[in-house]
Symmetry: C2
Subunit: 453 residues, 2 copies
Amino acid sequence: MKVNPRVQKTYEALFLLEDLREILRETSPDHKLNREQEERFKKILSELKKNLEEIENNEGDARIRYITDRIELRAKEEEFININPIQAGGRLTREGRKALIAYGDGYSICDYCFKPFRLDFIKRPPVHDFYQELAEFVGMDQARVVRGARRGFQIVASSLLRKGDIVLISSLGHYSLALAIESVGAIWKEIPLNEKNIITAENTQKKIESVKEEMGKFPSLIAISHIDYMFGNEHDVSGIAKIAHEYEIPFLYNGAYTVGVMPVNGKKIGADFVVGSGHKSMASPAPTGVLAVTDEFSKKVFKTTELSGDVTGREFGIKEVYLLGCTVMGAPLIAMMASFPMVKERVKHWDEELKKSNYFIREFLKIRGNRVVSEMPRKHTLSRVDSTASFDKIAKKHKRRGYFLHDELAKRKITGIFPGATKQFKLNTYGLTWDQIKYLGNAFREIAEEYGI
Amino acid sequence: MKVNPRVQKTYEALFLLEDLREILRETSPDHKLNREQEERFKKILSELKKNLEEIENNEGDARIRYITDRIELRAKEEEFININPIQAGGRLTREGRKALIAYGDGYSICDYCFKPFRLDFIKRPPVHDFYQELAEFVGMDQARVVRGARRGFQIVASSLLRKGDIVLISSLGHYSLALAIESVGAIWKEIPLNEKNIITAENTQKKIESVKEEMGKFPSLIAISHIDYMFGNEHDVSGIAKIAHEYEIPFLYNGAYTVGVMPVNGKKIGADFVVGSGHKSMASPAPTGVLAVTDEFSKKVFKTTELSGDVTGREFGIKEVYLLGCTVMGAPLIAMMASFPMVKERVKHWDEELKKSNYFIREFLKIRGNRVVSEMPRKHTLSRVDSTASFDKIAKKHKRRGYFLHDELAKRKITGIFPGATKQFKLNTYGLTWDQIKYLGNAFREIAEEYGI
């Protein structure tokens, strides 16, 4: 498939500038160029000039396919409308991408790490302030950046659970939550969905009671996604938190699909812990997440080290045991920080995202046979749809089988649905402009029309 | 301090291209520009052209100080010779930086994630092959990328240790190893250094025996750095592994300062586990690391999930419990992969790095009063030096106190020693060219001369 010349040439220019930057690194600090470097420098500059012309005129053949070895160029977000269910909220902002360029090197944000030598005390870049703002952003007392939401789950699990303890999760709970619980030797049990695929306070209470009856003890933790990954349905986290507290069971709010895209106030919901995902919903690179807690639990979850050296007597001060000290030290953190002002802004426009989500879904439903498996109207941009009675009928007779839909979408520069899926699949409209939303709706309808659905 | 115009303008050009890329994202897939976008586009292009001229002529005022909000531009590697002890081996390669640009978005490397849905099965980009090569690279049977070396320690600790178990670490063991052990409820004990600040097999054996005597049980794990973070000394990992095996105690080789800079063959050393650090020694962004094991331990450490849903009956297949499933999914992994060919190459030139390290140290020792606290000759590029009898004497009378040395080095565009330190400090010459090494040696001698040392 032909790549848009402008996209291609923009990448080429970015890479040429990295070639140039490499010379600056080789020759630092005086930047005297030897003959070979001088020639290289000139060649890069002349190619760059050509590139700019090509960008201007939207022309030119692709010179780069692989960045290096077998790593292809990736231009999904420039070339396509990407409706991948898990990728939408993690697309970087422009500022995030710039920060990544400047702070890519390993320990890049540790230049000004002074006593007490802990990531969240760094003031330059303003990591310290960022942590404060993060806590406020999710309506909790304290926050830490962690190496992904799953590490957030595990940190809570490590600090709270003993072997054999029981944790209630949703029947739609994410596997990483289940693994985090299993990794500390605890056991997860599922709260059943109601007939609308929603976890309710009522079912939570029933499950608490049945666990007590069956296992002779109450669950030690309840951990529920506000929005699940399967349907993008909203679950009654406030009601569940209330029940949890009646039984004095701590409640973990899983905001992997909410923190960073919609307003979240953990304390208002009644959460003891809020976990969010940077790469899922905070316009950040993986592996990043946020773990926020109330003051009540902060000492336990953010416990500092208690052991000391039997030979040397040394201690590790205020290093936090379950966090393993500093968490995300480099590129991903700075990109998360750089994206944050925009993230704080964008959650205010969640209503608009829902309008776009529902608009697209309405368009999608105009195709005969199409269904939406998620709750309606949509309360999230992630939706699970069903085209068993439409696209899948075509797939049955098409020589490319289920891949035909993926092909047809790709032809229209739309990507992100699971290749081959025509029965049920997920998509996420988050962050698309109205033009893109309309284009997307039209594309599906056009395909349906073309195949006589 | 005035930034070199070329450095500044290269950054500006990179950022302008990101501004341009943002337009391509907004207007994807047809890239029709509205009037406002058209104007923005033209403005960016014209600024870019100006930038190229300025780069060519090495001129122009800085237009960017902050990337966004309070995040400053970082040009340490372009402006300075950076001898920061922990940053040298984690500087990105040119290919790593390019990959980071293309794959910054959250789940960027998951585009082609198909059954069985696990990171290390992804073939495009070639994650699967990378994992194989990684295992081979460190001379072990199986490898996984993990979210930092500390997570590597913790994964081994989780899979091997029970509450109250004892782990022997070095008296120079890193705090993150200590925390990883503490985080699973186990206890770390220290092996004493010998008079040369080296951990020996003999002292290891003594400690095993004394633990047995005192605690009534043998240690469950021995975890030792090949090169420590404090002196950059080499410890007798082969001898220690041999003793460990005599007692049937598993041995973890901590290669945070070796894997990626010097050749490492885990099995030859006798390691059951090899842990490396991406951001410390593999030219990768944080938080990345490698955990490699022998076949004997792979089932235990990379255990797959065993629980299933009590309501839904669902299972999570081959997801690895202690790894929490997929580990480093995005930008940091792709940069690690992109840097890897160069990393494989560079370990072959470790001898040359040692030559440069020892050359610099000899120059440094020509200054009267200077000492080296690390073992001699240097077997690593990280060294701890002592200038109590030279620079520190100046510091005592200088109005900037110990900061004078940092200031003088900064004036000469050298960065990375701890600000204010004039008694003992660490530095790392890894990756510097011979020109830079000589410049560095001269700079120290020049400062000494200037202050009459």
